[in-house]
Symmetry: C2
Subunit: 547 residues, 2 copies
Amino acid sequence: MSKKIVIIGGVGGGMSAATRMRRLDESATITVFEKGPYASYANCGIPYALSKVIRDDAALVLHTPEYFKEVFNIDVYLNTEVVEIDRINEQVCTRTAGEAEIRRVDYDKLILSQGTDAIRPQITGVDQNHVVTLRTLSDLQAIRTLMLQRCPTDVCIIGGGYISLEAAENLRKMKFGVSIVEQGTHVLPPLDADIAQALHAELKRNGVRLFLNDTVRRIEKSYVVMARNGREIPADMVILAAGVTPKTSLAKLAGLEVGKQGVKVESHMETSDEDIYAVGDMVETKHMIQKQPCVVALGGPANRQGRLAADHIAGKPVHYRGNIGTTICQVFDLTVGLAGLSVAALRRLGQEPLWVTVHPPHHASYYPDAHPITIKTAFERGTGRILGVQAVGMAGVDKRIDVLATAMQAGMTVLDLEHLELSYAPPYGSAKDAVNMVGFVSSNLLRGDYKLVHAEDISVENLSAWQVVDVRSPDEFATGHLPHAINLPIGTLRDRVSKIDNSIPTLVYCSVGYRGYLAYRILSQRGFNVVNLDGGLKTVVEGGIKI
Amino acid sequence: MSKKIVIIGGVGGGMSAATRMRRLDESATITVFEKGPYASYANCGIPYALSKVIRDDAALVLHTPEYFKEVFNIDVYLNTEVVEIDRINEQVCTRTAGEAEIRRVDYDKLILSQGTDAIRPQITGVDQNHVVTLRTLSDLQAIRTLMLQRCPTDVCIIGGGYISLEAAENLRKMKFGVSIVEQGTHVLPPLDADIAQALHAELKRNGVRLFLNDTVRRIEKSYVVMARNGREIPADMVILAAGVTPKTSLAKLAGLEVGKQGVKVESHMETSDEDIYAVGDMVETKHMIQKQPCVVALGGPANRQGRLAADHIAGKPVHYRGNIGTTICQVFDLTVGLAGLSVAALRRLGQEPLWVTVHPPHHASYYPDAHPITIKTAFERGTGRILGVQAVGMAGVDKRIDVLATAMQAGMTVLDLEHLELSYAPPYGSAKDAVNMVGFVSSNLLRGDYKLVHAEDISVENLSAWQVVDVRSPDEFATGHLPHAINLPIGTLRDRVSKIDNSIPTLVYCSVGYRGYLAYRILSQRGFNVVNLDGGLKTVVEGGIKI
């Protein structure tokens, strides 16, 4: 007898589950109920469609219900909400928009793929019609209509996450005035503050006004009022991008186990009811680094989880390995990426990781247009297990994030990164690739060949406790240096080592960390108690650390 | 007492060893003898310097002897050849160009980093001065002089390897007529022939004349004569790019063990004499896939081996893991990359791997300028261990090669690639990244969910043994199709399945393999004995397979 598979929610995870199910089982009856008006579309492309970087919205509509019927023999019902799950009778109750009738539909296996709701902050005036979200194709159309009707000129984006930054870039392309309001210390809260500083600079360089550590108190017709000082910011359109929350109400109503955030699932995506699966942004899955359940609202995991749920229903011995939260974001001319956890996030979990910051060029430095990538890598003391990687730069960031994400998922340590044989030709990389550089510096630290101090640990006050030695050239020194620093260029250090006192703790530094490391090796072998400044002055300056 | 370290040969491996040695040991005496006129330069950049893509040759000179003295306290002697190694007395005998005197220099540890010689094919006329090589800065200067003196207009490149293709691209930028003569069936012999076809097309599209399966019989002043048919090709400059051979004569003279190609070393780069190390292009190291010693003449491994030899001398418990031969090459608007072995190379080793070919877009297909990447992945039957990856396309190739190279070095299987969480935003990738696609298709094959036939296995003759079903649209079918094919578009297949005979072996295909896979699933579940054409018609057409 043919299995009856019902899927609640189309788009990413749901349609992946549906089509995989069909490929595995020609005899199943597969039905998808989608609350919205599209079966499958690319929500990640929406900010780019707004500005017409993606020229035609139709490009975002990946497939229609007719396509799914014809090619997959899958029935997709749009504008149809599942209002109740009757677990006793294994039925769902559905209602199509504009119709009163409730239909009951049998299932043998049910897959929930309902995604998330945008969080609507409780701000006075938030319910006006010039306050919008930018997540769905319907949102996009609503914004287009609003733009035609009201001809806004200034947009305030509430929230500083990925969608916010993508929206800001595309709105600036359209010549809007753009403000971003972020309640935290920096945009993209999963990142460390120092890495986000480069994004702040890039946003400002492109005319985006940034309001950090602040919130919107009130939304008026043509401006918003800031909470901290009552300042008015022009805004005749407001985009809410303050995060998302898993749609769990239907699951809760059905008595399925729900965690702190999302629906609880086993490693093969089964919920607490063995005939009901859940996938995508609405579920809690294991984070491979923090080892705790978490919600990862990303397209890649959603797609793979949908596929995996279908595999499990078809009897395959599969299990979901968990997430490391690999993300990437274009911010004007910069790319920023993350895999695993930031140092701040690790500390919140009570961990005290080691970490290093390097600034290698994205390809051979002698080949035109080499751009530095700032890579901050956190790893476990003792083992060197990679816990988190953050990278920002103009080119080659996505490659290094993906290589390091792969290394993390393979359980590699920083010691393994030294050995990695990566592709090298001048237009693409270096004989010692940026990833190898991460490996060299991290491994030196892990093995105790090297001691460092981080930019965040130095200040005008505590610098005076060190003998500070700047080993750059006199010309570089003249452009600015740390307080109390004396200048002993690396090439002169051996000859002039008698000028400094080996009884005082010594801090050496250069521009990006390499010459500082050389100085560390020279001085430590001469009995100095010495540390190098991790990532050099560039890390201090880029990280926005005031000294 | 301070150790005396002598290094023969600067540039990549030698200078990496020298500088690492100094960082680890301030007290050592470190001396480098370099036969050529430069201590350290970027030979990989030379083709690009020729055309002034790299504007200034000085950019290629990474560091001078003065720099090494000042910063590293290393003595570098240029134009100085080591003519003999006296292992009994632990001395090297050196001779500086233009001087008669032989100096004897003591060593405690000796590191050989002599690199390779260009192979000079025995061709009549090869010793004329318009016949050059393009490997060193001196070569570059000689070519510049030749161009000024003789104003050549047509260049013939003998050999079709990486340097040949890079030279061809840069010479075309300079408006030279360019011919490439390759004795094998295709350029870049480490690749499979089908993958190289895209390069042939790109070379031709850019005006490069290709002569395959042929050699040069005779070099005249303004033309060369081809071996196969005596044809004359205009060439008033000839570049020899017919490969390299390790410089082993000094090692042989010293009685060190030399293998079939290069100097034999232990896993920590020690030669058969425990006080002599050898690194870089001149040594044989273990190939991680073929498990046999081989010479890998690449910058990355040379640098890491140099570093590792110094580590071992300093007493660190290191060992070299071996190579997988990760390479990348720009060929005009295309990039081609390889990690591990081609299918042909695996077969030559007596292996019968499984493999799949996919053509996913390099980023989200709905985002502008998405370009397909052709990825051919070979893996071990049973285990799924990845044995070789080849990729070619206009963008995103280096990223996928590096991710897959990392996966290979981590010992991942194709099953692991399904799970990889890689970065996704529209400008960078897809929710199902190209690497995941490799994983999905390979795993389906490995698990037996799927049967395929390769383009190389079909011909006009044997196609008649199959019932051939083209599941593309009628419009696509009308643009050309396989012989004997009937057209049953995928959306009609279930309804029209009675039109085909399930007692006859059936071959299904589409444009890139996906719809063919769907058809496979539909038909196999209805009792058909069916195979899908791997990679679809695109693999046939791109692979230059004539049907």
